[in-house]
């Protein structure tokens, strides 16, 4: 061979090169979704966490971002915000951060709005162009409430973010039904081999490959795929156990021993890898197939049960899937096969047995989908690829029910609704950060009751000037919220626990007020990383997002996810 190899027909494009390290996670489909999205940041306070979030979205190539912020660049901004420079002093923060953020990626569009939030929101369709909205505290609660209601009408996912001193917290309000097909489950947990309920082609293949097992040469014996071995020994087991497969742990241990006995140790290697694989797979592969509670939730959702012509593709496929499950008592076969010791040809053949069964199952679901479409006289035909993706990951689909986050209005008490019981339980759990969340609610209450100009931008921060009295006040509010929660939940907490709760809540309140509304760059950067990651999950509809509140404690370096 002389000269150089010609480039491949489909070598990577410059975009694929630039985004290589992330495409290996969310693939071209995720990247396309990211590039089609337009993120609105409604910024306030020191405003760092929002800008750091945008940095982590501009780098991977979000389509468009807009910053809404009427603040002017001050000296204090330069000590905490990386996306501002000295020459920007006196200018609009939104404008200059926007310019410096755009420098990070020429493929991203950036805009800014310097109008006050209140007048911006007065236009009823102001939020409509955006895919997702990020709001940072402090913000006037009436405005937040209006914004939240507006965003909910258009079903725009909204994040509400706090970042003060060593602490941060954000809540996500997703649409009432937010289904995810591409959850990226751990590859270890996804193999579905159906060894207890083999279909005829699989049984036949196993029988062929294990015929004359005892007489096989060492080489052949050591290369029988472990799946065939397990199916073979299962048949033997059934013949001596009234046709039953191993039922419990004791049975499985005995079955494991019987498989291990078949292993040859008189060969040159002194053992056989395929038998080792078979033995190792007994406990995890011989379980009756059952569906997860997440899948059951989808099947039992009202959207799945009663379809209308407006029902989205997801629910129609889910409905078809539930019919499949009702008929076969299993989900469609995903069709993937883990690697195992085997001859190349045997492995490929076995892989095809699984693949063709998966195709067969897919065809059945697809035909149900088509029938449903016809019955509903749906205008748009669901892409077969969508049905295929659903079938492949059926066992791991997930649906999040979005819920609004807490907004503290002056004079109103925090309501916990159906989450009161769980939240009250969490109060006594030392690992839960619910008390830190409550301290943040107390800060919001403080801001709601000390609004300076009604615009939310220049709200009085707790600990800004009069540190001592503010601390006392925020502590008092936090304790009131705790009492309100215990009351609403109707639980009783013993004296010792109650005083422990109170002292922990006070500490969080003190530490928050200590910061006087400051952001520490590290905590903003960390939180900006967490929020950006959640934004990416929400816009790509891949992986599983926080449902619905995340709290970070930078003193102890711990986080908690809570649902309200």
């Amino acid at each position: 061979m002389t000269g150089t190899t010609p480039p491949p027909l489909h070598g990577p494009t410059s975009k694929e090169k630039k985004y290589d390290r992330q495409l290996r996670l969310w693939a071209a489909s995720g990247q396309a979704a990211l590039e089609q999205s337009h993120i609105l940041l409604i910024n306030s306070g020191p405003g760092v966490v929002g800008v750091e979030t945008l940095k982590n979205l501009v780098l991977p190539g979000v389509g468009h971002f807009t910053i809404l912020d009427s603040a002017i660049v001050t000296e204090a901004d330069l000590g905490v915000n990386f996306f501002l420079e000295e020459e920007h002093l006196g200018g609009f923060r939104a404008e200059h951060s926007c310019t410096l953020l755009k420098e990070l990626n020429p493929d991203v569009q950036g805009s800014y709005i310097t109008e006050p939030t209140e007048s911006f929101l007065s236009k009823p369709i102001a939020l409509k162009p955006y895919t997702l909205i990020l709001v940072t505290a402090p913000i006037n609660p009436q405005l937040l409430s209006k914004l939240s209601a507006n965003a909910a009408t258009f079903q725009i996912p909204t994040f509400y973010i706090h970042c003060i001193g060593f602490y941060s917290q954000f809540s996500i309000h997703l649409p009432p039904a937010f289904p995810i097909v591409d959850t990226h489950p751990d590859p270890e947990s996804t193999s579905d081999l159906r060894l207890l309920t083999p279909w005829p082609e699989l049984s036949q293949f196993a029988t062929e490959k294990t015929k004359g097992l005892q007489e096989m040469s060492h080489h052949d014996h050591g290369h029988v795929p472990y799946i065939c071995l397990l199916l073979h020994y299962l048949e033997e087991w059934k013949s001596t156990h009234d046709g039953q497969v191993p039922q419990n742990y004791k049975d499985k241990t005995a079955f494991k021993a019987s498989v291990a006995q078949g292993e040859r140790r008189n060969n040159p290697e002194g053992g056989e890898e395929n038998y080792d694989e078979a033995v190792a797979a007994v406990l995890k592969s011989l379980n009756p197939t059952s569906i997860s509670s997440a899948v059951r939730d989808v099947f039992e959702a009202p959207e799945c049960k009663s379809l209308t012509p407006e029902t989205s593709g997801f629910w129609i496929i889910a409905h078809a899937m539930s019919i499949f499950y009702a008929t076969h008592a299993v989900l469609p076969l995903p069709g993937s096969l883990p690697d195992m010791k085997a001859q190349s040809a045997d492995y490929i053949q076995l892989q095809n047995v699984y693949k063709s069964k998966a195709r067969h199952d897919l065809a059945e679901v697809l035909s149900t989908v088509r029938t449903l479409e016809k019955k509903l006289s749906r205008a748009v035909v669901i892409d077969e690829k969508e049905v295929e993706a659903f079938c492949k990951n059926a066992a791991h689909i997930k649906m999040v029910r979005g819920r609004p986050f807490h907004i503290v209005l002056p004079g109103e008490t925090v309501r916990w609704g159906d989450r009161a019981k769980k939240a009250a339980q969490d109060l006594t759990d030392p690992e839960s950060l619910i008390l830190l969340y409550i301290a943040f609610l107390a800060i919001d209450t403080f801001i709601a009751t000390h609004d300076v100009d009604g615009l939310g931008c220049a709200a009085k921060v707790a600990g800004g000037d009069d540190w001592e009295s503010d601390t006392e006040e925020v502590e008092g509010i936090a304790l009131k919220i705790i009492d309100g929660l215990i009351n609403e939940a109707g639980t009783s907490i013993d004296e010792d626990e109650y005083s422990e709760i109170k002292s922990r809540a006070r500490e969080y309140a003190q530490e928050l007020v200590r910061a006087g509304g400051s952001e520490l760059h590290n905590i903003s950067a960390l939180t900006g990383g967490l929020v950006a990651q959640e934004v990416i999950k929400v816009v790509t509809k891949q992986y599983i997002p926080v449902d619905n509140t995340c709290v970070f404690d930078g003193v102890r370096s711990k986080s908690s996810v809570l649902r309200f």
């Binding site: 990577p12 090169k17 290589d20 940095k55 760059h521 967490l530 711990k558």
Partner: protein
């Protein structure tokens, strides 16, 4: 704590640095968790601005770390990185632009942050950490690592452990280490000789098991097997005289086409150019957001250590490790990894190594690369009494080569201690061979 509430509520000194107003709120006021002896204001501020801090790595984590430290009040930052900028860095290494491709990372990153954050001095060194000696590392107050190589981490860890002089408290340099892979990562703090070190934690980061050579050579089943075959076998056979360059598109294309052809022969679907690149270069997915989280966690700890504004990870007897995963919701696990008495670097006992006494020395040597607790690729092995195998010089290698085919029981006794040296590390690892049969 609650009864102290009264005493801590004193106002800090007058705030005279408008640019650092936010930071100074924390530096000028004690909190409920600060040490009762902590003096707020000037001393805390001094601690930060005088601390000379070293950042190892100016890549995905390094860019974030430099930005974060500069905006945390550190004034004298040094950074080491030997790499130059590649186009695939631009999706997360935000201090670099397209026009910087090919330039040294440490240099470009240092200049960028210096320009953006006035008053901070950043000194770059474009080279290897191994170029520098103990005197160099001794000048720093602490070291923050954002590396993608386990070997480099082990090297700096062993160096810092070796530098500790019991009579000189300044010789103990806190090491803060971050690492990421896709949506996962970790941040840990090490006080060399006092708390669990990188080597103590080595088995938490086990290398991926290699595919047996015979699978590659005779019974490939996966597209990756075909790529590894092209990479390890076909290249050696057909292009022995050319050194494989992972960054040369022509070389990758050649491997891709070889792999594709082999895959077709065996009816194996799925070989792509991108997969070829991934397997050959051992590419680990990396995203901006995970880097931001892990780097910021490291810098948060560095800030707390330098300023004492709050308790930090790594204080002996407390949590020293935060594990993070972000693919399913957000999950962190923060715990104390306990120092190991038999750690080959910071312990004084030899570590037990279970071996089959019937395996040959050659097989044992090969297994050392993959064993999570050893991960040594070019080991030179000796017992107290004799030399078992030397990688170099050639004369010694030749002399000890016959031992490779001997069984372990012929060379050592059950429970005997061996010392292993590897060119990647400056120290000897002590192991006790325990026969499992």
């Amino acid at each position: 704590m609650a009864e102290d509430a009264e005493s801590i509520l004193t106002n800090g000194p007058y705030n005279s640095r408008p640019r650092w107003k936010y930071l100074d709120n924390i530096l000028n006021r004690p909190g409920p968790f600060t040490d009762p002896d902590w003096v707020c204001g000037e001393p805390a501020l001094e601690g930060l601005s005088r601390a000379k801090i070293l950042v190892i790595g100016a890549g995905g984590l390094g860019c974030e770390i430099l930005k974060n430290l500069a905006l945390s009040g550190f004034k004298d930052i040094h950074v080491i990185d030997m790499d130059t900028i590649d186009v695939s860095n631009l999706n997360r290494q935000f201090l670099f632009r397209h026009a910087d491709v090919g330039k040294f990372k440490a240099e470009v990153a240092a200049r960028f942050v210096e320009k953006r954050v006035k008053g901070v001095k950043i000194t770059p060194y474009c080279g290897k950490i191994q170029d520098k000696d103990d005197d160099y590392y001794m000048q720093f107050a602490m070291i923050v690592c954002g590396l993608d190589s386990i070997e480099a981490r082990r090297w700096i860890n062993a160096t810092l452990v070796g530098m500790v002089d019991e009579n000189d408290p300044d010789s103990m340099k806190p090491l803060i280490d971050g690492g990421t892979e896709g949506f996962k990562g970790q941040a840990r703090v090490i006080f060399p000789t006092m708390t669990s070190c990188i080597e103590c934690q080595l088995d938490m980061h086990a290398p991926r098991a290699a595919v047996p050579l015979c699978t590659l050579a005779t019974i490939p089943r996966q597209p990756q097997h075909c790529i590894e075959w092209a990479h390890i076998i076909a290249w050696e056979e057909e292009r022995k005289d050319i050194t494989l360059d992972n960054d040369d598109p022509e070389h990758i294309t050649w491997l891709y086409q070889k792999a594709l052809k082999r895959a077709q022969e065996f009816n194996i679907p799925g070989v792509t150019y991108s997969m070829t690149q991934g397997v050959v270069k051992n590419i680990i997915p990396a995203i901006a957001s995970t880097n931001a989280i892990v780097a910021a966690s490291c810098c948060n700890e560095a800030f707390k250590i330098a300023s004492n504004t709050n308790p930090f990870l790594g204080f002996p007897g407390t949590d020293n490790y935060m594990m993070y995963t972000g693919d399913v919701s957000v999950y962190t696990y923060t715990f104390q990894h306990v120092k190991k008495a038999d750690c080959p670097v910071c312990g004084n006992l030899a570590k037990d190594l279970q071996v089959n006494s019937n395996s040959t020395l050659q097989e044992f040597i090969e297994s050392l690369a993959e064993r999570p607790e050893a991960q040594l690729k070019k080991p030179t092995i000796r017992t107290e009494a004799k030399s078992l195998y030397y990688q170099s010089p050639p004369t010694l290698e030749k002399q000890t080569r016959p031992n490779l085919s001997k069984k372990l029981y012929e060379l050592v006794s059950d429970g005997e201690e061996i010392a292993i040296q590897d060119p990647a590390f400056q120290i000897a690892f002590k192991f006790k061979l325990v026969f499992e049969n």
